[in-house]
Symmetry: C2
Subunit: 321 residues, 2 copies
């Protein structure tokens, strides 16, 4: 049976795991990212972690079919080079693919974490069914990450800047300011952080809400907004509906352009269950197309806590198959 190592590089931790071809996690570990010690230390930690998880899984490294890396930051895919990593200073133009390949002796592929997440769901998550060859993930976290699989291929675009559905503009004028420099990006309505911020802003502007009690003690989170919406809070429900509306429009636009079979919503706001997803489906369906019947399935992510390492391992799997 093939085994893959997934390495999920984050600003705080590096997670590593060995995954078999049916998606079973055979070993799973994590080390702090030595961000301040420079690129060589980070590379060394990643190589050590790969060897460590192989050993924990009782496997000789030679038995590993490939290593996949899920990484933040812009990537030069052709050369396997990480151009920069937002939370790891000095990590500029590091030939991460070849260095990990050298350190492990195994074929290695470098992918960004949003695309790795999409490949994880595609491999053994919500889109595991072999009939699925067109799948898009939207991960609602601090930002909105996305990964686009078209006919079994990840879309990188001409210079590797594609697959950024979170920065599609959904509000043409007077939209919220996004960290990317644009206004009205999907991310500014559908990320967890912006959802919390929209609640804070509405209360600052004088709107009443049960969330005001929380706000007196600490910052409101997206989870608070969803909990309040479920409990019937008017403001929270308006915000959740607005988030669902923009996600529904994003699903329409992705369907018109790429006609996927499945759109997978991931991230903490979705883990709460079908609450948000139901409203997104409704927003999608209520706008839907008279010309041809829509067939896309809008579903929640199937992978949970291990999504990072499974996604990274999926990068290796996808490259080897």
């Amino acid at each position: 049976m093939p085994f893959y190592i997934g390495l999920d590089l984050g600003g705080t931790n590096i997670k590593g795991g060995v995954i078999d071809d049916r998606g079973k996690v055979k070993a799973n570990d994590s080390v702090p990212t030595p961000s301040k010690e420079g690129p060589e230390a980070v590379i060394g930690a990643m190589v050590d972690l790969a060897h460590s998880v192989a050993s924990q899984a009782g496997l000789d490294m030679a038995k590993i079919d490939g290593v996949g890396i899920g990484s933040p930051g812009p990537i030069d895919f052709e050369n396997g080079v990480l151009a920069s990593a937002p939370n790891i200073p000095e990590f500029n133009n590091v030939p991460l693919r070849d260095r990990i390949a050298k350190g492990t002796g195994r074929p290695t592929v470098l992918e960004n974490d949003a695309n790795a997440a999409a490949l994880g769901e595609y491999w053994i998550g919500a889109g595991r069914d072999a009939s699925i060859r067109h799948l898009i993930t939207l991960t609602l976290g601090t930002g909105v990450g996305s990964g686009v699989v078209v006919d079994d291929q990840i879309i990188h675009g001409a210079l590797g800047r594609g697959g950024e559905a979170g920065h599609m503009i959904v509000v043409p004028e007077g939209g919220r300011k996004c960290g990317c420099g644009q206004r009205g990006c999907l991310e500014t309505y559908a990320s967890a952080s912006h959802t919390a911020r929209r609640a804070e802003e509405a209360m600052e502007a004088g709107e009443t809400s049960s969330l005001n009690q929380i706000r007196e003690q600490r910052s409101v989170t997206a989870k608070d907004v969803f909990d309040a919406a479920k409990a019937g809070d008017t403001l929270a429900n308006r915000l959740v509906n607005e988030t669902a509306m923009y996600l529904g429009i994003a699903c329409v636009n992705l369907s018109r352009l790429l006609d996927p079979q499945m759109i997978v919503l991931a991230g903490g706001m979705v883990q709460a269950g079908e609450f948000l997803i139901d409203r997104v489906r409704e927003a999608f369906t209520s706008r839907s197309w008279a010309i041809m019947k829509d067939h896309v399935r809008i579903v929640g992510a199937a992978l949970g806590n291990d999504a990072g390492i499974i996604g990274a391992a999926a990068v290796a799997w996808h490259d080897r198959t």
Copy 2:
């Protein structure tokens, strides 16, 4: 030298041509579409036209490398079947690819006309440079057609319903009603017919404009709106700027998702020159991304009157290369 036959099936006429591998039109003809006589008559006319243009080009049919068909309507790409054609009654589930292949004895490919237009520009039009492998066309006509080339492949999507950028929603709430059943589609702001209609509606609502003089005599056209804008008319300029804004947002969204090298604007509203394109570029640039430098080139179509047959021939070329 390879030669290709392009057949451009329209509701009124069938156009046919023989194109060589450098894009030279060796023969070019057209016959009325016998729409009312049923599918067999239409197929017969297409086969006859193919033989006729080959003969006009002085070529034996055996010298033709392939036949490409550009056709309206939803297509079953796998089976080469035209599901329906809006302006040709009774044309339902016609195995057009195989029937034309049989009638000509040459390999035949069926593609929709918007995708054929994209392949034409990709082959020997604005995107002819071999370094271009990611190109999107937006054709601004009665509707807004689009064709999406990603890494040398046309995007059809899971069930052949992709590549419909004209039906991406750019106005989330209260947008214009589109023929497709949605509201706020790009098409309702950027097609020639909707541009004319928006002018009519504004004048009906009491806005003053030099276009009112035309309106007393006949229906206003998109060309009238652009002519008036160039002459300084305030309403016409507002409408052109609005059209450019939504096209600019569409270019942003296409770039975020697919990172193309080139977006080609085609159709009558663009043939007028750089007037609209300049404003679209400005709308794009003014929204643009701080995270990575944008590189996409927004340009006008290079193919003129023969775009239909060249696009259809490009379908055959793309399939044979």
